[in-house]
């Protein structure tokens, strides 16, 4: 056996990795840019891609398919890694290739009209203001649970038209559907089942009583007489629930932490509102909500950056790493809201780039500055080293971020 001389600073998907994966990404980009390892679930041979250009290739080249159920090798499929396997989600927009994807994406995009997005701006503003009032009354609060979580779930609830009391249950079901712990794989189908069941209820509600919401728009979406059939509709709504629930919460949390860590950048954002939009792009680059894209699988044997991948190989594109690649971004570990460089891949890239990006940007542009504007002396309530991340390989989210407003609370 050849002795291995070098190791990444933290082994993949370990405690140290989750708390600070960046030294590992740096090592991988330099030493093993297409890195073979055993995925912890089912010990499936998997390749992790960390350089910006290679991540873009994986997300844009049709030989890297999103259809794990069609192209994934037996090992991958038998380990239960095909997303939504056995449910209507097997054909969801997130995991199909063209031409099926084109049709679903056209129908979905037809509901994101300018008028609807303008209407969402008022909704987001109102929800942010109400949530800030509540945080002011508390004086001390958790950015994750009491601000980012409330704003993201209230906005999603209004936009999709659902009742808020289901949100906690949904977050739990999403956790079940995407576990980090290999020991919990047997619960995955149950997680997807619960999400689909809720989407099914929501679709039935909106068929009976249509409202001014996205679910109702999807029920009626049609192009040249073509419409989503019932299963497609349920899968689409379920995909939107999954994609929109925890991601905005995670992103707002990461952004607030980054701005607390860089008060001069925060000050610049507040004093120069013309930077608001570039600040959100920079915060998405600096630490977005997703560590990685969803699995891709190779449709044939191919070579990527000098590494030969067999057909059916699972590939993970690491978005966080691509966004910190020094070959693409100058001083990538520095937060600079005036940065005007390459486009980040925080929303992914190519066919499956985030469908809800416009809404996520809108929420970020309103919710992030509003928090600091309302509470100029906002400060962390726990030492910096106690701020920790959840142990999930795909999502980059803080466990909690307790803060104080610095404004006395009236009894």
């Amino acid at each position: 056996m050849t002795p291995i001389e070098h190791f990444p600073p933290a082994e993949l998907f370990t405690k140290d990795y989750y708390q600070n994966p960046y030294p590992t990404f740096e090592w991988l980009r330099t030493n093993s840019p297409v890195h073979e390892f055993d995925f912890p679930v089912g010990n499936v041979r998997t390749w992790m891609v960390t350089r910006y250009d290679d991540v873009r290739t994986v997300l844009a080249d049709p030989r890297f398919s999103s259809e794990g159920g069609t192209w994934g090798n037996a090992e991958f499929r038998e380990a239960g890694l095909v997303s939504g396997s056995g449910s209507v989600l097997e054909r969801a927009i997130t995991v199909v290739d063209p031409p099926a994807h084109t049709r679903l994406r056209r129908l979905a995009m037809s509901t994101f009209t300018t008028r609807r997005i303008a209407h969402w701006r008022d909704t987001v503003q109102r929800i942010v203001e109400n949530t800030l009032d509540d945080c002011a009354r508390r004086g001390s609060f958790d950015v994750m649970d009491d601000y980012a979580g409330v704003v993201s779930s209230d906005v999603l609830g209004e936009i999709l038209g659902f009742r808020i009391e289901r949100h906690r249950e949904l977050v739990e079901a999403i956790g079940q559907a995407f576990p980090s712990d290999p020991g919990l794989m047997d619960q995955v189908p149950e997680g997807f089942r619960r999400i689909c069941e809720y989407a099914e209820e929501l679709v039935a509600d909106k068929r009976r009583e249509p409202g001014d919401d996205l679910t109702s728009a999807l029920v009626h979406a049609s192009e040249d007489g073509d419409r989503l059939d019932h299963e497609e509709l349920v899968a689409m709504v379920a995909a939107m629930i999954m994609a929109g629930s925890d991601t905005v919460r995670a992103f707002v949390g990461n952004a607030v932490l980054a701005l607390l860590d860089h008060p001069e950048q925060c000050g610049l954002m507040l004093s120069s509102p013309e930077y608001t939009s570039s600040a959100v792009e920079e915060l998405l680059r600096y630490e977005g909500a997703l560590s990685t894209a969803l699995f891709r699988v190779t449709t044939e044997e191919l070579e990527l950056a000098g590494t030969v991948l067999p057909a059916g190989a699972p590939v993970i594109a690491v978005l966080l790493s691509a966004n910190r690649d020094p070959d693409r971004f100058t001083a990538p570990d520095r937060l600079d809201i005036t940065r005007n460089e390459s486009r980040h891949v925080g929303f992914g890239h190519g066919l499956h780039n985030c469908l809800g990006a416009a809404l996520a940007r809108l929420e970020g542009e309103i919710a992030i500055p509003a928090l600091f504007r309302r509470f100029p002396d906002l400060a962390r309530d726990i030492p910096r080293e106690e701020v920790g991340y959840i142990e999930n390989w795909a999502m980059r989210r803080l466990v909690r971020l307790p803060v104080s407003t610095g404004i006395p609370v009236r009894p």
Binding site: M109, R343, F347
Partner: protein, 70 residues
């Protein structure tokens, strides 16, 4: 039938969907944004693909005009 596609660079956010759907029609430049523009496409399949791509663009940055004249 002739079709022309225009990319509005002020709306483009560089999602890369156009290039992924039609690499022969669109190219993403060095900065990561979609390059202008395709003129006088007459192949019917390509005209339909252009329309598909414009409909799928997440920022509505692509507009397609079709004229029936040859």
């Amino acid at each position: 039938m002739r079709a022309t596609a225009r990319v509005d660079r002020s709306l483009c956010q560089g999602a890369g969907l156009c290039e992924a759907m039609g690499p022969e029609l669109f190219r993403i430049d060095e900065e990561g944004y979609s390059e202008n523009s395709q003129r006088n496409i007459t192949n019917e399949e390509k005209v339909l693909l252009l329309q598909d791509i414009a409909d799928c663009c997440p920022t509505g940055a692509i507009s397609v005009t079709v004229s029936e004249q040859d």
